[in-house]
């Protein structure tokens, strides 16, 4: 049944519902609410100020109201001045930047960048960018955005340099410290890269650009927090914004619809909880198929473990763990329970046989060739799957621990783009960041099959790229409603290596679930001591 047929069925069903009359008891109790429910103090005070008591002379009442107003204004000014005193001092160039005037348009869309780069008309500006976006879709999208930005800002040239992720990681601090270095650099979230750069005073604070361009409305606070630090670089996840992300990613379950076509009954199952998901895996196993195509050789167990764990924990704990706040411990009942479930899945034979020696790319290829029903992976494999002929895939969020709860999704946003503090053209760089995260840019990325950091529409053509729309909608839902979790390997510098090695030992039963969380916690606590 396609969406239009489903809509038609729904409309008919709702139209067929006979109207219900509210029960008499409800009618009586609602009618009695004003008499039985006291208004809150604020509402009663509002009423008192609006209506003058008859026993108070009009002049006296006016004096009372004026006195209250003066007291209120005085308090507001005092509090406001204290808040202003507490604001970080911003570079003069940023503070003095006038708001851009949208004088140019691109495909009917005003480009606010023009005003910020207007000085290029008399003195040409070259903005140098350094990024690691070497993938086909994202790289060509960035190139196109650069051409458009140059066209909208005469006199501006974008000089783009690309490096591999490892090369960028190794050289980013030196690039930011170079007085002639790139103006705009992708800096990895977390203390190791962005935190270190903030501590060294190498990154420009983006607070005023965020205000100027309305970035606070573009992303939910939980997304901006991932690129925020205190001004001393020691507190992660809050404070000043230092970067904006162009792309997003989310971990979930890709499903090979070859199995649904073979067995429509099994295809109709839609798990509402982790327990129901395990029942589906069990049914697949009993039918003689591999429930989850999995290869552990490249560390993909982290994503499965993270998804299970994030369905079990409070997101506040997860934020604290990843941001290194409040001295949380990794040794909790939930981390143990998630480890136990992972081992149980292995024991029950839900994973590809011999998964220990299968790499990531091989696992994706096995899944694409219908050697298993599900692939538990992050959204970046979507374009690869959508390019497969003859088989369709869809993508589901990992269900919550209990049916009826809202699912959380492990994931995040791509490496944020930041501005070198000593860039000679910070305003033009700010305008560039605004442009590459604009609605137009997000749609262009979507059309290239890249998941943007916020979904505003668009999709790759042709539309048989089915999993893309699932990914985009689930990411949009999670990221705008505060239910996008984190990647566990962002929690501390050695997290990926430590988790990979110990998840392998856990699944091989070399260590117990309790021992697994203890060893991760020991590494995490050792890291926390370095922050003090």
């Amino acid at each position: 049944m396609n969406e239009h047929e489903t809509e038609r069925e729904l409309r008919a069903w709702f139209a067929a519902q006979p109207p219900l009359a509210a029960p008499p008891e409800l009618r009586r109790s609602v009618a009695a609410i004003p008499a039985t429910t006291q208004l809150p103090l604020a509402a009663r005070l509002a009423a008192a100020l609006t209506w003058r008591p008859v026993f108070v002379p009009r002049a006296a009442w006016a004096l009372i109201v004026v006195a209250l107003a003066i007291a209120l204004v005085g308090t507001t000014v005092y509090v406001g001045s204290r808040l202003l005193d507490a604001r970080p001092v911003l570079p003069p160039a940023v503070v003095s930047t006038p708001a851009p005037t949208p004088t140019a348009t691109l495909a009917g869309m005003p480009i606010g960048a023009y005003g910020a780069c207007a000085s290029a008309a008399t003195a040409p500006i070259t903005l140098t960018t350094l990024d690691q976006e070497t993938g086909d879709g994202i790289s060509s999208a960035i190139d196109q955005l650069n051409r458009e930005f140059q066209a909208a800002n005469p006199g501006v040239t974008i000089a783009r340099e690309q490096r591999s992720a490892d090369d960028l990681k190794a050289s980013v601090q030196a690039a930011l410290a170079d007085p002639d270095g790139p103006d705009i650099v992708q800096v990895e979230q977390g203390r190791e890269a962005m935190g270190a750069a903030v501590r060294a005073g190498l990154l420009l604070q983006l607070t005023d650009y965020a205000t100027q361009y309305g970035w606070d409305d573009r992303w939910a606070p939980g997304i901006l927090a991932r690129s925020s630090f205190s001004d001393d670089g020691r507190t992660f996840g809050s404070g000043t914004l230092y970067g904006v992300s162009v792309t997003g990613e989310i971990v979930g379950l890709f499903r090979n619809n070859h199995f649904a076509a073979d067995d429509p009954g099994r295809g109709s199952l839609s798990p509402q909880s982790l327990a129901e998901l395990m029942e589906i895996f069990s049914a697949t196993k009993e039918a003689g198929d591999v429930p989850v195509v999995f290869g552990a050789a490249d560390g993909d167990a982290i994503e499965i473990y993270a998804s299970i764990l994030e369905a079990m924990v409070e997101l506040e704990w997860l934020d604290d763990f990843v941001y290194g706040r409040n001295n949380v411990s990794f040794a909790t009942p939930e981390t143990v329970a998630a480890a136990e479930l992972l081992v149980e899945m292995s024991d029950r034979g839900y994973f590809t046989e011999g998964y220990e020696s299968i790499g990531h790319d091989d696992a994706v290829a096995l899944f694409a060739s219908s050697k298993g029903e599900y692939l538990w992976a992050d959204s970046r494999v979507g374009p690869t799957l959508d390019a497969v002929d003859g088989v369709t895939f869809y993508f589901k969020a990992v269900p919550p621990l209990q049916a009826g709860d809202l699912s959380r999704s492990a994931g995040g946003v791509g490496l944020p783009w930041a501005i070198r503090k000593t860039s000679p053209d910070p305003d033009c760089a700010g305008a560039y960041l605004d442009f590459i995260t604009s609605d137009h840019a997000m749609r262009l990325l979507a059309n290239q099959g890249v998941l943007p950091s916020r979904y505003v529409g668009g999709a790759p053509e042709p539309m048989q790229a089915l999993s893309y729309t699932d990914v985009a909608f689930i990411f949009a839902d999670a990221s705008t409603s505060g239910r996008l979790g984190h990647r566990l390997d962002a929690a501390f510098p050695t997290a990926r290596e430590t988790l990979t090695a110990n998840l392998a030992a856990l699944m091989a039963k070399v260590i117990s679930p309790e021992e697994f969380v203890q060893v991760i916690d020991a590494a995490y606590q050792a890291y926390l001591t370095t922050l003090r």
């Binding site: 004003p34 369709t392 009826g404 089915l466």
Partner: protein, 180 residues
């Protein structure tokens, strides 16, 4: 005749206005809650809670003509809270609990179809169910739903899309695009 104290008089004005609007919107609110929650008892409680909340925040309603949208938002929140507090999928059967067997009506769909749709709605998560009811029962445009639910229009669209996919699977027995 004794003149009412002005503050009390204001209360009386508020109470009169509230009572009139509540009476006018009571049935519509109760029906909306019943379809979201799938249970008449739960709907009765949620509707009552929502009207209490509406009375307590009466001062925030600037324009009485906007009462319906304003109250819908309160009611939807009350329903969502109930669904989440339950921390489990509500035990409901829309086909049996909502349709009054004694009520006359031109039922357009067969009982079997009705049961299937009712059961498929049960499988949606609370947020999906709310947008489906507002879209296909109330026939509200996405922007109006967004205002009532308190999320961006894009989020409403994504919830609707995903809900329709879920329902398509449940009603058709297979993922919608598999049939292409």
């Amino acid at each position: 005749m004794l003149r009412a104290h002005p503050i009390e008089g204001r209360q009386v004005d508020r109470a009169t206005a509230f009572a009139a609007l509540a009476e006018h919107h009571l049935d519509a609110g109760y029906n909306l809650a019943a379809l979201i929650l799938g249970n008449r008892d739960e709907a009765e409680d949620a509707t009552h809670d929502a009207f209490v909340a509406a009375w307590r925040s009466w001062g925030s309603l600037r324009d009485p003509n906007r009462f319906e949208a304003w109250f819908d938002r309160i009611l939807v929140n009350a329903c969502r809270d109930r669904l989440r507090r339950a921390r489990r999928h509500p035990v409901i059967d829309l086909s049996e609990t909502l349709i009054d067997p004694a009520a006359p009506g031109d039922i357009a769909v067969s009982t079997a179809e009705r049961d299937a749709i009712g059961r498929s709605l049960e499988r949606l998560n609370p947020d999906q169910r709310i947008v489906v009811v507002l879209r296909f029962y109330r026939d509200l445009p996405v922007e109006e739903i967004a205002a009532r639910v308190g999320v961006p229009a894009g989020t409403v669209k994504s919830r609707l899309h995903y809900a329709l996919r879920e329902l398509g699977v449940a009603l058709g027995g297979r993922h919608p695009e598999v049939a292409r």
